[in-house]
């Protein structure tokens, strides 16, 4: 009865206890960092001697943090839009196309997700230095679009595979042009997949550290590069404050995602 929740007996208590421990382990750093950001100790003593908002004040007093966050948001938005548009077009070919080497093409387009980022980072760094895109926004956007593309293709192809093409054909029979049928019948039907693609592609760029470290210049750095730079100096509580805001952002993103998914699936 190992797969019957109600008939596991003593094993259920043990497994539930273990699951609770793992959940606590997964939650620990996230909760810890938020608590720490309100602690008054510069040396990150825990539990903190008293509570304060000074690390947030220090964070907002330094314009470099805000600037880095805006740079990240700008690059991630552009990369996500590009990845979703290019990924959407590619998904139609990958799911419905009948041509030789379709699986090879799928594998190739997904490779950026598998190849260790450090290899791609030094490769694109060297390449951009040579063609003059090093340290530019365009360079960042291109590199991040490459990395985000698999994260856009995977949910869109999955959604498209679950969509019955005869519905699109029916629209054409009723007089729609093939383009119109795709735009007004197929795209609305796979909107959850497209939405997931946008979220994943955005996060792929927003959180990306390794390429960013190599590409960053003194005048252009993303938020992860700023955090990385601070981490290598010291473990200042200001990083905890910045991190807590990122946790807040993640939480809001999760809630918004859940709400939109619920709305879209109605």
């Amino acid at each position: 009865m190992l797969l019957d929740y109600d008939r596991l007996g003593w094993l259920r208590a043990a497994l539930l206890g273990f699951t609770g421990l793992v959940a606590a382990f997964l939650l620990l750093p996230v909760v810890f960092i938020v608590l720490l950001s309100f602690g008054s100790s510069r040396w990150l003593a825990f539990p903190p001697p008293s509570w304060t908002l000074k690390w947030y004040e220090e964070l907002f007093a330094d314009p470099a943090w805000l600037e880095a966050a805006l740079t990240s948001a700008r690059i991630a938005t552009m990369a996500a839009i590009l990845a979703v548009v290019i990924g959407l077009l590619a998904s139609f070919a990958l799911v419905r196309g009948q041509f030789r080497g379709r699986n090879t093409l799928r594998g190739l387009l997904l490779t950026p997700m598998v190849l260790p980022v450090v290899v791609f980072a030094i490769a694109i760094y060297a390449f951009f230095l040579r063609i003059g895109l090093g340290g530019t926004t365009a360079g960042f956007v291109i590199a991040h679009t490459v990395l985000a593309l698999p994260f856009a293709i995977i949910p869109i192809t999955a959604a498209l595979e679950g969509f019955d093409k005869t519905i699109e054909d029916a629209a054409i029979v009723c007089g729609a042009s093939p383009f119109e049928a795709k735009l007004r019948v197929t795209l609305p039907a796979i909107k959850i997949g497209i939405f997931s693609a946008a979220i994943f592609a955005f996060l792929a760029s927003w959180d990306e550290v390794v390429v960013a470290i190599f590409m960053a210049s003194p005048t252009l750095q993303t938020l992860p590069v700023k955090i990385w730079g601070s981490l290598r100096q010291d473990l200042s509580p200001v990083i905890a404050a910045a991190s807590s805001l990122l946790v807040l952002l993640t939480l809001s993103l999760m809630i918004v995602t859940a709400l939109i998914r619920r709305k879209l699936s109605k």
């Binding site: 009865m1 190992l2 797969l3 019957d4 497994l15 273990f18 699951t19 793992v22 382990f25 997964l26 939650l27 620990l28 750093p29 996230v30 810890f32 960092i33 040396w43 003593a45 825990f46 290019i86 990924g87 077009l89 590619a90 139609f92 070919a93 799911v95 419905r96 196309g97 699986n103 093409l105 799928r106 387009l109 950026p112 260790p116 450090v118 290899v119 030094i122 490769a123 060297a126 291109i142 490459v146 593309l149 995977i154 054909d169 054409i172 029979v173 093939p178 994943f200 959180d207 550290v209 390794v210 470290i213 992860p224 955090i227 981490l231 905890a240 991190s243 990122l246 946790v247 993640t250």
Partner: protein
């Protein structure tokens, strides 16, 4: 009737061509394949044409240690991740949805939280004067702080933390796909719970364990951020070494040779994984 109608209009039967994939193919070729191949060429052309970079990498004990470290950490991380993830995935597969969604929420929150944020938290938690050492000393388990950071222990803890969601989530799918009747049948035929686990549940979930484990192993081999921040300088891992060769030492020839070895191993394991689970299953993972 309708089949007939569709038949007369060939336009409906025409599948979408390869055309839609052209922008993606152009992007990947120009800004992925070309730069990576160009990099790999540097490994046999710099500083002079030949294989001397590879000879250096394989001939020097220092580099051999880095390779060994990398494989050791990836193996330990994979083993621990599989062992910890299995019971959790098992529970998640059969838990009442209300309880399960809380655990799923925690997993997603951890997975989506900025990678540097999570690593920073572990740096603070694991340091000499950190909460973990302080607590262990307070309850009298240890008298001296344990060295938990700047060594492979720190790297392993941090990496397992990051890899757990990647193992748990696909494994839940595998376990949900198992028909509970097979286990009921085993119980009816007199199998003890342990026998049923060993001879039915475990073998049936093996494809999921293999696929997830291989993914975790591959990701661990090339991981850069966490090993760099939680590991020490004396036991560097491969990705960190590659970055250092390029960034600090400007030794492009040696750095790209090491990158090529990492690429080769990764791609070989990726191919193996595709064979194990099939491209379809892999790409439907998210």
């Amino acid at each position: 009737m309708s089949g007939n109608l569709l038949h007369r209009q060939p336009i409906l039967r025409r599948p979408d061509g390869v055309g839609g994939a052209l922008p993606a193919l152009t992007l990947i070729t120009l800004f992925f394949v070309v730069p990576v191949v160009a990099l790999l060429l540097r490994s046999v052309t710099e500083p002079v044409p030949g294989l001397q970079n590879y000879a250096t990498l394989f001939g020097d004990g220092t580099y051999a240690r880095v390779f060994l470290n990398t494989f050791l950490v990836a193996t330990v991380v994979t083993a621990v991740t599989v062992i910890v993830a299995f019971p959790v995935a098992w529970m998640l597969a059969i838990m009442p949805p209300a309880l399960g969604s809380i655990v799923f929420g925690i997993i997603i929150l951890s997975m989506w939280t900025n990678l540097l944020t999570r690593t920073y938290a572990w740096m603070v938690l694991l340091q000499r004067t950190g909460v973990i050492n302080r607590t262990l000393m307070d309850i009298g388990l240890i008298s001296q702080p344990l060295p938990l950071i700047n060594n492979l222990t720190g790297v392993t803890i941090g990496m397992v933390y990051i890899m757990l969601p990647f193992m748990i989530l696909p494994l839940v799918g595998t376990l949900r796909a198992i028909d509970p009747m097979t286990l009921r049948a085993a119980a009816l035929c007199g199998a003890s719970p342990f026998d049923a686990f060993r001879r039915i549940l475990l073998p049936l979930s093996l494809p999921g364990i293999a696929a997830g484990g291989l993914m975790v192993f591959v990701m661990s081999l090339g991981y850069f951020v966490t090993p760099t921040l939680l590991g020490g300088t004396s036991n560097m891992m491969l990705a960190a070494m590659i970055a250092q060769m390029i960034q600090s030492l400007l030794n492009w020839g040696l750095g790209s040779a090491a990158a090529f070895i990492l690429l080769l191993v990764t791609m070989a394991l990726y191919a193996l994984q595709l064979r194990l689970v099939g491209a379809k299953r892999m790409t439907g993972g998210i």
